[in-house]
Amino acid sequence: MEWLQQLINGISLGSIYALIALGYTMVYGIIKLINFAHGDVFMIGAFIGFFAISRWDLGFFPALLLAMVVCALLGVFIERVAYKRLRNATRIAALITAIGVSLLIEYTTIFFRGAQPEAYPNVVSSKTFQFLGAQISMQSIMILSVSIVLMLILQFIVHKTKIGKAMRAVSYDVEAARLMGINVDNTISVTFAIGSALAGAAGVIFGVYYTKIDPLMGIIPGVKAFVAAVLGGIGIIPGAVAGGMVLGVVETIVSALGFSSWRDAAAFIILILILIFRPSGIFGKNTREKV
């Protein structure tokens, strides 16, 4: 059952993309900013998890929680320091700042610990199960279940809580939300915190699943997650999840057909096709730009 196996590989990869894509999409949805530093928050999450597990002997779940908390704080810090004062500036100014923040995080990390890679310790048992001829590792199951739980919690926060209602209101119309007495600044900060926490969780999961982490590891997954977010329709939460999964499975299929060196190209070809034929993404509604 080679194809079942490949599907499982694809979904595991896709759920990591989905977790990162959620942060992109939430931030874009609320302040229309592509936060390019998001991939680096993911990297910081991976390193926090690494130190928690290998230096402080924490288990997988405490390490995951710690990485999420630290990344949430980092996300809020970045937003307050770098993006808040640019809220009324042009979008290109904010975008360039985001790239600057991204480089700053990468090279500050290299400055403090060097560029050499680090190997994640084994925290989740590497036991595998046979299922219809496919090998399913404990790690894949773990990744998938943690991702699903996190996404369900996110859905709950966005749709059932007061802060979620505020987030939806701000993303709909900032001015009207402010007139209704919503604290826009705090709402944006909370969005950054949640998005960054998800990226941090993705970092730890990535480390456990793929073992190798390094200070520039966030670049490619960050860009791929951006593609996933656009694919699903940027600004739409279920779109990010679907986009991530589709991208992961497509990449796996491309490799499975024997075009492994075309895998990265496939992701960007998808991006180009989406931008040409359906710029608002799979889940997006075609709205006309207001002039």
Binding site: P117, N122, T211, K212, I253, S255, S260
Partner: protein, 401 residues
């Protein structure tokens, strides 16, 4: 426009001053490293240049060679030097950068007037010094420059003054193919190589040729790109082709992950690679269990029972706090002894004569094998096959070309 021209002025002042500072810095380090004034090679000493990566991203290679070379120089000087002359090393750090390596070679050739240059560790940085070497008649020996391009140009002409102590990349592929066919009795092999590196491509190519020449079959060929982390889909595809041996030339950063993911995907057949596997990080990335039943070719093993090797291992441990020497240490050590042998045979420290003596080397017995130099300045020597057992590198066998 006014602001612009002002900016340009500042920029030019800045550039000029940084040039001056650079020159001054160069002079400073010259004064430190020159021990016998500007006289060059006096009758009592032989100056040898070490142009090595002592800092930067491949510092571990360069400093490994330096350690081996220092030990050899100390031993030779303690035993009376070369024809009664003491070796004086001139060490320059090329910061793992090709431009710095060129600058260092110019300095060694024109200011220090060394007999020969040892280094650099990587092929790229050695190539950077080759032109200078040819022009100034200063032999250059790259201890671990495995790329064929160091000594042979693209038009098949040989760089007269360029040499290397290690075997070249394609040679490892041949050794691995013979090992797979003869020792492991493999018939249907697969290749999974790094498509972005000349090193891996060279190994894969000669491996494939040797397998096909000797009646084996390559059932699958796949590639990855350096920095990839997810190999599961390709490995699943490889598994379905049912190979009984997989050759994975590449560097440890990716190979470590590939080995781990291959075992997770249920691939149990022997895996093999080249000296790019030689790193302590390999075990951390792949895990000791996954590495069982994997092999790689290397220049030498500190566990080789050979008497000459054990003598070297002991001397190295004595000088370096009980640390066992790795391949770079051994190659650095051998390079100095090779150069000593050539200078003695030439009976002179003249660059041209030393170059001829180096090229004529035959059956010289060194730590990394007995070797001769062929017409392309490639050493012909034996390679060692190492095996991983529970996360430890174990000497498996020695394979002659």
């Amino acid at each position: 426009m006014v602001a612009n021209s002002k900016l340009k002025k500042y920029a030019s002042v800045f550039l000029a001053s940084s040039l001056v500072v650079g020159l001054l810095a160069g002079c400073g380090s010259k004064d430190q490293s020159t021990t016998s004034g500007s006289k060059g090679n006096s009758s009592k000493e032989v100056k040898i240049g070490l142009n090595l990566e002592l800092s930067g991203n491949v510092a571990s290679y360069g400093s490994g060679i330096a350690k081996g070379a220092r030990l050899a120089i100390k031993e030779i000087n303690d035993n009376g030097g070369i024809d009664g002359k003491k070796i004086v090393p001139v060490e320059i750090d090329n910061k793992s950068d090709a431009a710095e390596a060129t600058a260092a070679a110019i300095k060694l050739a024109t200011q220090e007037k060394v007999v020969a240059q040892i280094g650099s560790a990587t092929s790229g940085n050695t190539v950077a010094a080759v032109q200078i070497a040819n022009k100034n008649k200063m032999p250059v020996i790259g201890p671990s420059a495995t790329s064929p391009t160091v000594t042979v140009n693209s038009d098949n002409s040989v760089n007269e003054y360029a040499f290397r102590t290690c075997f070249i990349d394609p040679f490892q592929g041949r050794i691995a193919a013979n090992f797979a066919l003869n020792t492991l009795k493999a018939k249907n092999v697969a290749i999974f190589s790094d498509s972005a590196s000349d090193y891996a491509k060279g190994l894969a190519k000669s491996f494939k040729e040797t397998i096909e020449e000797n009646g084996g079959k390559v059932v699958a060929e796949e590639s990855y790109v350096a920095k990839d982390t997810d190999f599961k889909s390709t490995l699943t595809r490889l598994k379905s082709k049912k190979p009984d041996f997989i050759y994975i030339p590449g560097y440890y950063e990716e190979v470590g992950l590939i080995v781990k993911q291959a075992r997770e995907a249920g691939i149990t057949v022997p895996l093999m690679g080249g000296d790019g596997w030689d790193s302590p990080k390999m075990v951390e990335l792949a895990g000791g269990d996954s590495l069982n039943n994997t092999f790689f070719t290397n220049h030498y093993s500190s566990e080789d029972p050979d008497e000459k090797i054990q003598k070297f291992v002991e001397a190295f441990k004595g000088a370096n706090k009980d640390q066992a020497p790795d391949a770079f240490n051994a190659l650095g050590y051998d390079t100095v002894y090779w150069l000593k042998d050539a200078i003695e045979r030439a009976g002179s420290t003249d660059g041209e004569k030393v170059k001829d003596a180096l090229a004529e080397t035959k059956d010289l017995s060194l730590v990394t094998g007995t070797f001769s130099v062929d017409e392309n300045h490639h050493p012909v020597k034996s390679a060692t096959v190492l095996e991983f057992k529970d996360g430890k590198q174990v000497f498996n066998s020695k394979v002659n070309p």
